[in-house]
């Protein structure tokens, strides 16, 4: 079936199966920032923004995105570049599998919470698992980036 949605500001028409997940639809359209890590919304690496709100694309049927506006980090490259500078300098890069989704979730957090505290940041990003870094360097990088933006 054909569905319409906007991805990063571009109108898209996808031919999808009724039981197809948004993750697969978007990856088939070469949005490689979105990764598969699980299939029950429990790791965060498939995060996309639906009308600005972070959702897990592994658990959302593509048909549910009909008419909605989807954002991936491909749509916020400048912001991701900036955050990545902080990641680089704090040693927060390891395997990188969670980094795109983390950058996107940070973007969403900024629109929702002004001046987030340490606890706010941890709480907002709690669903974005990372097995490599131990979180400390990521946290420092995100916090410094936010502070410099203010």
């Amino acid at each position: 079936m054909k569905i319409k949605m906007t991805v990063n500001g571009t109108k898209k028409v996808y031919d999808v199966a009724p039981d197809e997940y948004l993750l697969d639809t978007l990856r088939a359209d070469h949005f490689y920032s979105i990764k598969r890590g699980c299939d029950n919304s429990s790791c965060g690496v498939c995060t996309v923004l639906m009308d600005g709100k972070a959702v897990q694309s592994c658990s959302i049927l593509s048909v549910k995105a009909e008419g909605h506006s989807i954002t991936t980090i491909e749509g916020h490259q400048d912001e991701a570049k900036k955050l990545s500078e902080y990641f680089g300098h704090q040693g927060a890069d390891q395997c990188g599998y969670c980094n795109s989704s983390l950058a996107l979730t940070v973007h969403a957090m900024k629109t929702e919470i002004k001046h987030p505290t340490n606890e706010d940041i941890k709480e907002y990003l709690v669903g974005n698992l990372c097995r490599c870094t131990g979180y400390e360097a990521q946290h420092r990088a995100i916090k410094l980036c936010l502070e410099d933006e203010e």
């Binding site: 920032s33 680089g88 990372c130 490599c132």
Partner: protein, 770 residues
């Protein structure tokens, strides 16, 4: 040093955050056949009938594979060097299935849905067999997990499948029985560790195609591309020269991607159909059907003089390798080999035990590789002994632990599945690590506990650890450096970046040796057609072994450049000065850029390229002291980690930021094993903890503060003084946290993970005087 020991950003972080095409699944061919595996619902069964007619008839199904499609040729999936110290006990597909999740058949179809439908259409009848689910009763059990006659070992590893033994081992120094009798104070305790899951975020992932030259080309999310190529050739009896394995960007490994996963299936499907194929494990398959850490029971006895000199360590271990014996012996040996030398002043050591088969998910390599299990037992036991001696655990360790220039007889006795080599500690700053850690932890003030005035009490605990740096005389790494026009270089390495940053730190070593900057060194790694040999990312070998190969290549390339300039100047090479940019002699000079252009286009043309190899003749251990401050709620048993302090001696940190990341990542995985990561099976042997909702890895909420520092240390055999740092971080948390809990509330938890329920139950028992 200008590039080494500098906290430079990783060379690939930005592109990955931007979401560039980089990982295995990003590189699968469009319209690849989807490979799915029919997995056993029984912990142990024999396939007595398998009919694939209906599945094959389904529209969109290309191929169904059963054990009948494969020669009966045992191999090991372990992903080690050859010959492997793991038993050849696996068939690509077998008529036996040995755990819930084991491979019974495979299908290749046009899409996931069709493949899954086809799995249901395979008509399979099992003779369900009684399983071995309790590893403590596996040895000499009447039920044999591997009754088949074809399986074998490659050299003696204590393999005896008629007793359910994948491996067994015995070593001793001195006479432990006598030493224990003579000891004024002795303790005895039993510890249990669980089957921790790697839980890397990228699942096991592989894809295949036949290229335009008719060769089989795989992209694989692996830690060991060269071993993968060899094992595919062995298991499928297909020429090695016709296989190419490329490791693209890998989303975490931690040992879990050392071994083979879907490689045999995609290779077979693509060879049989001529079509590209891919396989991606579901998260459930990652948990149930890959590998875990070896769960163990460790029985340990210690003896000391009453003034606190440790005299004897006696340890019996039973390790559960699950259904297949990947890494059975070597993980087992590391329990002692990379832990017990910490206390090198003892008179006697005995270490022995069995690695048994059971009908559980197989165990394999996992960061720490036995050392974390051994560390939990020994470092907990040391604290028990300290309590009995009424001695401060820091003071006890300072008295008894390994010091610089010293050795341990264990190094010579125990190697990687074989005998080891004698080794003296040319770099060991453990004394500094302990002293500095105690300072930062405010040990004098806080040990053993501080009541916080409510139901909470603060406790501190500590443990020390060591690891290795590669496998001496076994692990080899090679590096190729090529000079390009315009004066930049390619660094081609077999070393396998799985997220730990090896591409970056090896480029740093090359840049330092070449006298250039990081941007002038273009790294390409882990492609069996294009990069030289390297064992892969395991055994904490990359910084030390691969790093030494890169250093050697860098130095040699630098000399080649000088030699070429000497020819241009018509002087001796000794008369050329070179700062990495400009080559000078008396009144002449030429820049590297000019020289490289001249070598390509103008005069005496040639390609400057060098390949250098290195293998270690020792394995210098990194050391660390871990100190933890916790708050325990006596009413709920809940533990909050306030700060985890790591003081690490890894020699020179090639990149201090990335080294810190290795330590902190290891610490948090260790904290996960210590406190959160429970592994539960049903009575029938089904893994319950098979997703991220049931298997709880630490989130950013649990991690309050990590304090990580490095000791000033220089290992002269390492590249620019470096040792390894990939595994050492994971070792201390289980023991340090167990010790802190004891110090806080006086209960000793000997079974991992240390959950609030166990603490509370122990507190209640203690209150009742049990």
């Amino acid at each position: 040093m200008k590039v080494v020991n500098q906290a430079l950003p990783s060379i690939d972080g930005k592109g990955l955050m931007l979401g560039k095409k980089a990982y295995t699944d990003d590189l699968a061919e469009p319209h690849s056949l989807i490979v799915k595996v029919l997995r056993s619902p029984h912990p142990y069964a024999k396939i007595i009938k398998i009919d694939t007619t209906k599945a094959e008839a389904l529209n969109g199904v290309e191929l169904v594979l059963t054990y009948k499609d494969f020669d009966r040729r045992p191999f090991t999936r372990s992903g080690q060097g050859y010959p492997e110290p793991s038993p050849y006990d696996k068939f690509v597909l077998d008529e036996y299935v040995r755990y819930i999740g084991d491979e019974a058949a495979a299908v290749a179809a046009v899409d996931v849905k069709t493949a899954e439908k086809a799995l249901k259409l395979i008509d399979i009848e099992y003779e369900v067999l009684e399983p071995v689910l309790d590893f403590e009763t596996a040895y000499e059990n009447k039920i044999l997990v591997h009754p088949e006659p074809e399986i074998h070992d490659m050299f003696p590893i204590g393999f005896d499948p008629k007793k359910n033994l994948a491996a067994s081992y015995h070593m001793h120094v001195g006479d432990v029985t006598k030493s224990l009798e003579e000891s004024e104070v002795t303790i005895e305790e039993t510890f249990y560790t669980q089957a921790q899951a790697h839980a890397m975020l990228e699942p096991h992932n592989v894809n295949a195609r036949i290229d335009y030259q008719g060769r089989l080309v795989l992209y694989s999310s692996t830690q060991t591309p060269i071993h993968v190529r060899r094992i595919i050739s062995q298991a499928l009896d297909y020429p090695l020269s016709k296989i190419r394995v490329i490791k693209p960007r890998v989303g975490g490994g931690f040992g879990g991607k050392q071994a083979i996963h879907g490689e045999m299936f995609v290779s077979t499907v693509t060879l049989k159909t001529g079509k590209p194929s891919k396989m991606m494990y579901t998260r459930k398959e990652v948990f149930e059907s890959s590998y875990s850490r070896h769960p163990m029971r460790l029985d340990i006895k210690l003896g000391a003089t009453k003034d606190g000199i440790l005299k004897v360590i006696d340890c019996w271990v039973t390790s559960d390798t699950g259904a297949y014996g990947e890494h059975a012996l070597t993980v087992f040996m590391v329990v002692a080999a990379k832990v017990f030398p910490l206390y090198n002043k003892v008179d006697s050591v005995r270490f022995h035990g069995n690695v048994v088969y059971t009908n559980h998910t197989p165990a394999g390599a996992y960061r720490g590789y036995g050392a974390i299990q051994g560390n939990f037992a020994l470092e907990s036991a040391i604290d028990i002994l300290c309590h009995k001696l009424n001695m401060d655990p820091v003071e006890f360790r300072q008295k008894n632990m390994m010091k610089e220039t010293e050795t341990s007889p264990i190094f010579k006795i125990m190697g990687e599945g074989t005998e080891g080599i004698e080794m003296f500690m040319d770099s060991c700053k453990l004394d500094y690590c302990v002293k500095r850690g105690a300072e930062l932890a405010n040990w004098k003030e806080l040990y053993p506990r501080k009541e916080l005035g409510n139901s909470k009490v603060k406790g501190v605990g500590m443990a020390i650890a060591m690891q290795g740096s590669g496998i001496p005389y076994v692990d080899m790494a090679a590096a190729t450096i090529k000079l390009n026009d315009d004066g930049f270089y390619n660094l081609m390495i077999g070393a396998t970046d799985i997220g730990q940053g090896s591409d970056t730190i090896l480029a740093q070593i090359a840049a330092e040796a070449l006298g250039t900057t990081l941007d002038k060194v273009i790294v390409y790694s882990s492609d069996t057609d294009l990069t030289p040999y390297d064992t892969g990312a395991y055994a904490s070998s990359t910084t030390y072994v691969s790093g030494n190969a890169v250093l050697k290549a860098g130095k040699e390339m630098r000399q080649m450049i000088i030699n070429e300039a000497a020819k241009v100047f018509e002087v001796n090479p000794e008369d050329v000065e070179y700062d990495g940019v400009t080559l000078k002699t008396k009144n002449k000079e030429i820049t590297l850029k000019e020289l490289s252009n001249r070598l390509f286009y103008n005069k005496d043309q040639k390609q400057l390229q060098i390949t250098s190899s290195y293998y270690g003749t020792k394995s210098p251990p990194p050391f660390m002291a871990g100190f933890v401050e916790i708050d325990v709620d006596k009413e709920t048993g809940e533990v909050d980690i306030i700060d985890y302090i790591s003081i690490v001696d890894c020699g020179t940190t090639i990149n201090p930021m990335l080294a810190k990341g290795q330590v902190e990542g290891g610490i948090v995985q260790g904290i996960g094993m210590a406190m959160y990561e429970e592994v539960n099976y049903t009575k029938k042997g089904k893994l319950i903890t098979n997703d991220f909702l049931n298997y709880r890895i630490p989130t950013r909420r649990e991690i309050h503060k990590l304090t990580t520092e490095f000791a000033d240390s220089y290992e002269k055999s390492g590249p620019y003084g470096a040792k390894s740092v990939g595994e050492i971080g994971i070792d201390t948390p289980p023991a340090a946290i167990a010790n802190a809990v004891y110090n806080a509330v006086g209960v000793r938890i000997t079974t991992l993970p240390i959950t609030p329920e166990k603490i509370l139950l122990a507190i209640k028992k203690k209150e009742r005087g049990e």
